[in-house]
C-alpha cells in the first residue's frame, strides 16, 4: 500500500487515447454549453408575459417571501400542504430577479420566473450527463437535451415557478450520482440525499424513487453492494425524516384541536376529489391531458411509445421504469391530476426517446452489417432520410409552439391591474385588499400592511385568523364590510363559489378599472358596504 493512490488491482492495463480537447475543454463541454445556452435563451425570452400567471406560482413566491422576511414558512399558517424545501430554494435564488428588476409596478410573479432559468440550465446539463452515463453517444445525448428543453411543453412549463421543476433537478442529480462510473460509495449516499431533497421539494417525486433503486442495483459492485444500498437508503430516510421531525418538534404531527398537522396535510392531498379518468371526456384529467397534447403531442405520444420500447433494453430500463410509474399514476381515475404534473415525466421521456433513437440507428447501421462500401453507405443514407423526415415533421411544430411562447402576452391584464393599483391606490395601515396569489406579492410591495391587509382570497373563509383580525365588531357574516378593495380575476371568480364572505363582498362592489373583456376580464373593484 503506497502513500499514493494504488493502481486498480483487478483491471488490465489499458492505454486510453487522450480525449480531444478544443480551446482547453472537451467536446462534451462545448456541445453541452451550446445546447444549454440555446435552451435558456428560448425559455427566457418573453418569460414574464407567457404563460398566464398561475395562482400556484404566486403562492410559492409568497411563501418564499415569508421565509426571507422571517415571518415563517408561509405568510399565513403553514398547513403542511407541501414540504417547504421547494420554496426555501426559491427564497435562496430570489436575489437574482431583485438584482435585475426594480420598480413596484412590474408584475412580480412574471419577473420572478427568472429564478427558473438557472434551474432549467442545471437540469439540462444533468440530462446530458445522465444520457452519457447511460452509454448513449453524443448525438443522442444532445437529442435528449433538445427534447427536454426546447419542446413547447417544456418551454411553457419549465419557465413557471413550480416546485416540480426543483424536484426534477434533484431527481436528475440523484440518477447521475447513482450511475457513478467509479461506483463510489459516497456518490451513492449522495444519490440518497438528492432523492430525499427531490421528495422534500415536491412529494410526488417519491413515485420515481423505485426506478432510482433499480438504477442503483444495475450500478453497484458485488463487493460493495451492501454498503451502497445501506448508505443510499440510510441517507434517503435520514434526510427525508427532517420534515416529520419539524412537525414533531412543533407538536403538529398528529391531527388535533385548534392546530394544523402534517398528517392532516397529507390526508388532504390523498383525499382530494379525483380529476376523473384521463380517458373520460367529461373529466378534468381529460381536459388537462389534452392541454398537454395541445402544447406538444410529439413529446407525449413519442415519449409513451419510446418508454414501452425502452423497457426491453437493460441500460434504458431504469429511466423507462420511472416514466412508466409516473404515467401509471397519472392515469389513476380516482387521483387528483394537476396540470404541472407532466413536468416530472419530461426528462424521462426525453431520455427514452434519445435512447430508442440510438438503438434504432444502431440497428440500421450495424445489424448484420457487412464491410461492403455501398451497403454501409446505403445504411447511413437510410438513417439520414429518417432523421430528415423526423426533422421536417417535428421542427415546424416546435418552432410554432416556441414562437408563441416567445411572443404572446396573455398576462397583459394582470400587468395592467398591478400597475393601476400601484399608481392609484395608496394604502394606509388599515386598507384591506383581496387578491389572488398572482398579485399578492405586488400588493405586499405596494405597502399593504401584512397578510391580514393584503389578503389571499382563499384565506378569507379558510383561515380563522384573518377574520379574527378584522377591526369591526359583530358577527362574522358582517366582516366583509371591513374589506376595501378586491381585484377580481378569472381564477378568483372560478373559486369564489365555495367562499361565502367573498361572494357577499363581490355582490356589493363598484368597478374602478377594467382590463380585458369577456370571461378573462380583470377588474379592480371597490367594496361599498351600503349598496
Amino acid at each position: 500500500m503506497s502513500i499514493l493512490l494504488d493502481p486498480p488491482v483487478q483491471r488490465a492495463d489499458v492505454t486510453r487515447a487522450e480525449p480531444r480537447r478544443f480551446l482547453g475543454r472537451s467536446i462534451d463541454f462545448w456541445i453541452c454549453a451550446t445546447l444549454v445556452i440555446a435552451v435558456v435563451i428560448v425559455q427566457a425570452w418573453n418569460i414574464a408575459d407567457y404563460p398566464t400567471v398561475s395562482d400556484d406560482e404566486g403562492t410559492y413566491l409568497a411563501q418564499a417571501w415569508a421565509l426571507q422576511h422571517g415571518i415563517g414558512l408561509a405568510p399565513y399558517t403553514y398547513w403542511y400542504d407541501h414540504p417547504p424545501f421547494g420554496w426555501m430554494q426559491i427564497a435562496a435564488l430570489s436575489w437574482i430577479p431583485a438584482l435585475i428588476f426594480h420598480g413596484h409596478q412590474l408584475l412580480v410573479v412574471g419577473y420572478a420566473r427568472i429564478i427558473m432559468l438557472p434551474v432549467t440550465a442545471v437540469s439540462a446539463i444533468l440530462v446530458y450527463v445522465l444520457a452519457k452515463r447511460l452509454t448513449l453517444p453524443r448525438w443522442a445525448a444532445a437529442l435528449a437535451v433538445v427534447c427536454f428543453g426546447l419542446s413547447p411543453l417544456s418551454v411553457t412549463l419549465q419557465r413557471e415557478v413550480f416546485l416540480d421543476n426543483f424536484a426534477v433537478l434533484w431527481l436528475l442529480a440523484a440518477f447521475v450520482l447513482a450511475y457513478s462510473p467509479r461506483k463510489h460509495l459516497w456518490h451513492h449516499v449522495a444519490a440518497g440525499v438528492c432523492a430525499a431533497l427531490a421528495c422534500l421539494s415536491k412529494e410526488t417525486a417519491l413515485i420515481a424513487v423505485p426506478a432510482l433503486v433499480v438504477a442503483l442495483w444495475q450500478n453497484v459492485h458485488h463487493a460493495t453492494r451492501r454498503y451502497s444500498f445501506v448508505g443510499f437508503a440510510g441517507a434517503f430516510i435520514l434526510v427525508g425524516i427532517q420534515y416529520p421531525l419539524y412537525a414533531v418538534l412543533r407538536g403538529e404531527l398528529f391531527e388535533g384541536n385548534g392546530h394544523v398537522s402534517l398528517i392532516g396535510g397529507v390526508l388532504y392531498q390523498i383525499e382530494r376529489p379525483g380529476s376523473g379518468s384521463i380517458f373520460a371526456s367529461s373529466s378534468n384529467s381529460y381536459t388537462i391531458f389534452h392541454s398537454w397534447l395541445y402544447y406538444d403531442p410529439l413529446l407525449i405520444v413519442g415519449g409513451v411509445a419510446a418508454t414501452l420500447i425502452a423497457l426491453a433494453f437493460r441500460h434504458l430500463r431504469p429511466v423507462a421504469i420511472a416514466a412508466v410509474l409516473l404515467t401509471l399514476v397519472a392515469m389513476r381515475p380516482t387521483g387528483y391530476l394537476p396540470a404541472m404534473y407532466v413536468i416530472q415525466v419530461l426528462p424521462f421521456f426525453a431520455l427514452v426517446i434519445a435512447g430508442v433513437a440510438d438503438r434504432l440507428v444502431a440497428l440500421i447501421t450495424a445489424y448484420r452489417a457487412r464491410p461492403v462500401r455501398w451497403e454501409q453507405g446505403a445504411r447511413f443514407l437510410v438513417v439520414a432520410l429518417i432523421a430528415a423526415a423526423a426533422a421536417f415533421y417535428v421542427v415546424p411544430k416546435w418552432y410554432h409552439g416556441d414562437r408563441t411562447a416567445d411572443t404572446a402576452d396573455p398576462n397583459a391584464g394582470y400587468q395592467a391591474a398591478a400597475t393601476w393599483v400601484a399608481d392609484h391606490i395608496k394604502p394606509t395601515k388599515n386598507t384591506r385588499i383581496v387578491v389572488d396569489d398572482g398579485l399578492w406579492l405586488n400588493m405586499a410591495e405596494d405597502g399593504f400592511n401584512g397578510s391580514h391587509h393584503d389578503i389571499y382570497f382563499f384565506k378569507l373563509d379558510l383561515d380563522p385568523a384573518v377574520m379574527a383580525n378584522s377591526s369591526l365588531p359583530g358577527p362574522t357574516a358582517d366582516k366583509w364590510k371591513d374589506l376595501d378593495y378586491i381585484v377580481s380575476t378569472p381564477y378568483l371568480r372560478q373559486n369564489a363559489v365555495s367562499l361565502p364572505t367573498l361572494v357577499t363582498a363581490l355582490a356589493h362592489t363598484r368597478v374602478l378599472a377594467s382590463f380585458g373583456s369577456g370571461a378573462n376580464v380583470i377588474q379592480v373593484l371597490q367594496v361599498v358596504p351600503g349598496s
Binding site: M1, V9, H184, Q242, L245
Partner: protein, 421 residues
C-alpha cells in the same frame, strides 16, 4: 445564549460524527480501493528472515496451540522466540517443552524485570533476534501458514519499513459486547488503518505487526514506560517518515478473542486510552514536518476520546432541543448529529453481515438486535474507560492491567449455537 451553545456543540458533534463515518468507510469507497486493501499475491520466493516474538504471561492454556500453528508456516527462514516472566513457572515450563519439540526454530527467553509489561518483555528479546524482520504475536493468536510469505513479499514489493497485518476478533457470539468489539476490529483493520497508512500517520496494533530489525534497534525498541507500546511504535516510525503498509486478508488475518468479561474489556480500553494519552504527551509526533500532518496526529490520537464524548453529547443535545425552549431552527440543528450517527449504525449492521459471510459465521437475527440495542451501553463503557484513563494518567498510575484469555476463539466457527448467545 443557550441556543448559541446548543448550535455550536451540535455542529461540532456533527463534524466529529461525519469524520468518523468517513474514516470508517474508507476501504469501501470504491471497489478498487477494497481490492487494494488485500495482500498482493507473492512471487514464490522468500527474501527475508523472520524473528517472531511471542510474549506469554500466565497463558499456558493457549500457548501450545499457537506455537504449533506457527510451526506450520510455509516460509523457509523464521525463528520463534517465546518470552516468559521469571515469576511464571508454568508458562516457562510449557515454553521450554515446546522449544525441545523444535529446537532449531523455537527459543525461550526469560524476562527478569521486577515490574512486568509487554514492552519490557519485547525489549528483552530484541538483542537476541537473528532475523532481519521482527514480528510480534500474542499468545492466543491463530496464525495462518501463508502469512509470512505474503508479508515477505509485501516488504520487498512495496519497500516497506513496517507491515501491519490484519487482526480479527472472532468470537462475536460470546456476548453483546464481544459482538461490538469484533466489529470494531473489523472496521479498524479493514478500513481505518489503511487510511492512516495512506496519510502517513499510523498507530500500529500490538500484534501481527512486522518491522525491520535494523529500524527497530535504531529507534530504540519499544517504550517500556508506555501502556500502548504498539501505538507509540507506530507514531515514532511515522514521525521519522518510515513507510508503513497495511494489509487485511480474510484468509490470513490473525484470529483473536475478545476480553473474557466486560470488566476486562473496560480495563483493556482504559489501558489503550491511557497509552494514547501518554503517546500524545511524549510529543514524538511533533517531529512530523507539516502542520497538516500534526493536526492529523492530534486528531488520530484523540479519536477514542471523541467517540466517547459523542456517545453522551448527542442525547443531551437532542434533549435540550426537545425540552428547552429554543427556536425551531436550533432544535432541528441539535438533531443534526443524529444523521451521521445513525448512518454509522446502519453501516455497522451491513458490516456484521459482511463479516459473517467472509468468515463463514452464522450471524442470526438476534445478533443484529444485540448490535443495535448494545450501542448505547457500549458507548457508556467506552466513555467510562476514557474518563478513567484521563483520571489514571493525571494521578500517575501507570501499572499494567493484564487481560486474561480463555481461548473462546478456538471453538470451530460452525459451532456457534453451543456457546452462550
Amino acid at each position: 445564549m443557550l441556543a448559541a451553545a446548543v448550535l455550536v456543540v451540535s455542529l461540532v458533534l456533527f463534524s466529529i460524527a461525519a469524520a468518523t463515518l468517513w474514516w470508517m468507510m474508507h476501504a469501501w469507497r470504491t471497489p478498487e480501493m477494497l481490492a487494494s486493501t488485500k495482500f498482493d499475491e507473492p512471487d514464490g520466493t522468500c527474501g527475508h528472515s523472520f524473528s517472531l516474538l511471542l510474549p506469554a504471561r500466565h497463558e499456558q492454556g493457549v500457548l501450545e496451540h499457537t506455537v504449533q500453528r506457527m510451526l506450520e508456516s510455509t516460509h523457509d527462514d523464521y525463528e520463534i522466540i517465546i518470552i516468559t516472566g521469571h515469576d511464571d513457572p508454568e508458562t516457562t515450563q510449557l515454553a521450554e517443552k515446546l522449544a525441545e519439540l523444535a529446537p532449531d526454530k523455537v527459543r525461550v527467553v526469560t524476562d527478569t524485570h521486577e515490574v512486568k509489561s509487554k514492552a519490557k518483555a519485547l525489549n528483552t528479546a530484541l538483542p537476541l533476534c537473528r532475523g532481519d524482520i521482527i514480528g510480534v504475536f500474542d499468545a492466543e493468536d491463530i496464525v495462518h501458514p501463508e502469512l509470512l510469505v505474503h508479508v515477505d513479499y509485501a516488504f520487498r514489493s512495496e519497500q516497506a519499513d513496517v507491515v501491519q497485518g490484519g487482526v480479527q476478533l472472532i468470537n462475536f457470539h460470546s456476548s453483546w459486547y464481544s459482538l461490538r468489539n469484533c466489529l470494531e476490529y473489523f472496521f479498524w483493520f479493514r478500513s481505518r488503518l489503511h487510511l492512516q497508512a495512506q496519510k502517513g500517520f499510523i498507530t500500529l496494533g500490538g500484534n501481527t505487526v512486522f518491522i525491520k530489525t535494523d529500524l527497530l534497534r535504531q529507534i530504540g525498541g519499544w517504550d517500556p514506560n508506555c501502556l500502548a507500546e504498539d501505538c507509540d511504535l507506530g507514531v515514532r516510525v511515522s514521525s521519522q517518515g518510515g513507510k508503513v503498509v497495511v494489509a487485511y486478508d480474510t484468509q490470513m488475518v490473525t484470529r483473536e478473542e475478545t476480553p473474557a468479561s466486560l470488566l476486562s474489556l473496560f480495563k483493556q480500553r482504559t489501558r489503550w486510552n491511557q497509552g494514547f494519552l501518554q503517546v500524545y504527551r511524549k510529543a514524538d509526533w511533533k517531529q512530523l514536518p507539516t502542520v497538516r500532518q500534526r493536526m492529523l496526529a492530534r486528531f488520530t490520537l484523540a479519536t477514542p476520546f471523541f467517540a466517547a464524548m459523542s456517545g453522551l453529547a448527542v442525547p443531551i443535545g437532542i434533549g435540550i432541543g426537545v425540552f428547552v425552549d429554543v427556536p425551531i431552527v436550533i432544535a432541528m440543528v441539535s438533531w443534526l448529529p443524529v444523521v451521521p450517527a445513525f448512518l454509522v449504525l446502519a453501516f455497522e449492521v451491513a458490516a456484521l453481515r459482511d463479516f459473517g459471510k467472509q468468515y463463514n459465521l452464522n450471524v442470526r437475527f438476534i445478533h443484529y438486535v444485540k448490535l443495535v440495542i448494545g450501542t448505547p451501553f457500549y458507548q457508556v463503557t467506552l466513555m467510562a474507560a476514557a474518563l478513567r484513563a484521563v483520571w489514571r494518567e493525571t494521578t500517575g498510575r501507570k501499572d499494567w492491567e493484564l487481560t486474561r484469555h480463555v481461548g473462546a476463539h478456538l471453538v470451530a466457527p460452525a459451532h456457534t449455537s453451543a456457546t452462550t448467545v
